[in-house]
Amino acid sequence: MLEIKGLEVCHGWVQALRGLSLQVSEGETLAVLGSNGAGKSTLLGALAGLYKIKKGDILLDGRSLSGKSPHYMVKEGISLVPERREIFNSLTVMDNLLLGAYHRYRSKKNEVIIDVENILNLFPALRGRENHPAGTLSGGLQQMLAIGRGLMARPKLLLLDEPSVGLAPLVVREIMSTLAELKKTGVTIILVEQNTAAALKVADRALVMERGSIVLSGCSREMMGDTRVQQAYLGRTRVVRPAAAL
């Protein structure tokens, strides 16, 4: 469904993605792991049209999307839930959700209302707060709202950039279980996460990025058993501290 061919993206002089290629099939959930600065968010940003592509191509259902603007990407069915949520604080919860469906003005009003209802079913904690300013919500609810806003676009491909960041463990668990629910609806998801254990539980497949390239990939179960992943991201081995000869 999604095919990325030799993608290169630069931030000024720094090359953030170095000839990255990957394929995602329909309905799949792919976890993208890696340390800070590995290029995970850049990958999502490039897919959402936020960054200029230096080389390579992005194909969605066989159609090239490289060089298109972010709002065009949303129309094409790629929806990004950005890092740190970026909800519209002064607008109400309902306005935030409706803005997610901004490009769908040609669809029937009923459809949008049904979608809002579906989102409220998916995140029952948001129900009853439709008219509250989004900025007054707790961090967890804001994250749910951000995901809800992304879903209102009826994406084929949902990009989630670190949805667990800054949230309490219980809230993270709730969000992850919602993602598992979402998977059942058949939407394709790319999940960038620092919380490797949680991400691997939800994802079908995972890949590890380092300095703008993919260094490891496989199905989630394999990855969970991989000693390199365990060492680097799951903290399951004893950390070897350097000798105290400082």
Binding site: P82, E86, Y102
Partner: protein, 323 residues
């Protein structure tokens, strides 16, 4: 809701009956100017308060509207209605052309670019003597006539202007509560998040810019028919700054802001001109500016959201559910 309709009814009635109690043409003139400025500040309010873009060049669009009417009715002998319509179209077209490159700029740079545009147009009003008549301006603009009704007296013009204010307000009220208005508020909050939500931010900002220019052009066209004489002086940089001042003092993103802002800034100027010499004998114009500044500063300190936010005082605080 009923309360709201009652308030509207009272306000409209008050504006309708006001001229019956006003005997002086001077006061009527002040009210007409407030109405015209309100139209401009409504547009500027959309641009600044909703789309988050500042413009220090709106006096130029105001002037273009006036000169369009002046040139078309005197030199080209157009009937008044088509000339008025043209006074909306020309500033809108110019805004669409300069908006593309200009609106890519942000904040201070956008302010400077619009400022430069305003100054440039003002220079053109002065220098294109063949078309605009130069610094001495153009006279002989006919009265506006709509279907046999000739707006030849101030009182008629008063009603024309305030009915226009009402219609523009209603249209803008609808716009703000539409899908487009919601998107504009989103842009003000975060352009980045708006883009990723599927909003064409550049396109929407351009539309807001063109819309505000059209409203400024409309006010300009009406102004030309009101004073029947145009010269470059009312369309300079100073006027652009005044429009921004009215928008900010009135309160950005509020419904009553433009009316309150335009009303206060115009009325304050007039009152101070009359009152200062009574308190300080022999005081010149500079004293007015000092007091003007002090009063506006006080307003911004006491009510930084602007006068339009004054309705908040009557709202009951909402108890938020705390998680």
């Amino acid at each position: 809701m009923n309360k709201k309709i009652a308030l509207w009814g009272i306000l409209i009635l008050a504006f309708a009956l006001l001229p019956l109690f006003i005997k002086s043409n001077y006061l009527l003139g002040v009210l007409i100017v407030i109405g015209l400025y309100t139209i401009i500040v409504i547009g500027l309010g959309i641009l600044m308060g909703y789309a988050g873009q500042v413009s220090f060049g709106h006096a130029a669009f105001f002037g273009m509207g006036s000169y369009t009417v002046a040139v078309l009715t005197t030199a080209c002998h157009w009937p008044t209605i088509p000339a008025l319509i043209a006074s909306l179209i020309l500033p809108g077209l110019v805004a669409a052309i300069i908006g593309g490159p200009t609106l890519k700029l942000r904040e201070l740079y956008l302010a400077l670019a619009t400022l430069a545009f305003g100054i440039l147009v003002h220079i053109l009003f002065n220098e294109l003597k063949g078309i605009t008549g130069g610094p001495s301006g153009m006279t002989g603009i006919p009265y506006l006539s709509i279907g046999g009704l000739v707006f030849d007296r101030d009182i008629k013009f008063y009603y024309l202007v305030w009915v226009t204010v009402l219609l523009v307000s209603l249209a803008v009220h609808n716009l703000i509560h539409s899908r487009m208005g919601r998107a504009m508020r989103a842009i003000r909050e975060s352009e980045h998040a708006s883009e990723t939500s599927g909003i064409d931010t550049a396109g929407l900002k351009l539309q807001a810019f063109v819309f505000s220019a059209v409203l400024a052009g409309l006010a300009g066209g009406l102004y030309a028919f009101y004073v029947t004489f145009v010269s470059p002086s009312p369309f300079g940089f100073h006027t652009s700054v005044q429009f921004v001042l009215m928008a900010v003092v009135g309160g950005l993103g509020t419904f009553w802001g433009p009316l309150l802002g335009a009303g206060l800034v115009v009325a304050l100027g007039e009152v101070l001109r009359w009152a200062i010499p009574l308190v300080i004998p022999g005081a010149g114009g500079e004293y007015q500016i000092i007091f003007f500044g002090i009063i506006l500063m006080l307003i911004m300190v006491i009510k930084p959201e602007g006068l339009g936010a004054i309705t908040d005082l009557f709202k009951k605080p909402r108890v938020e559910e705390v998680q």
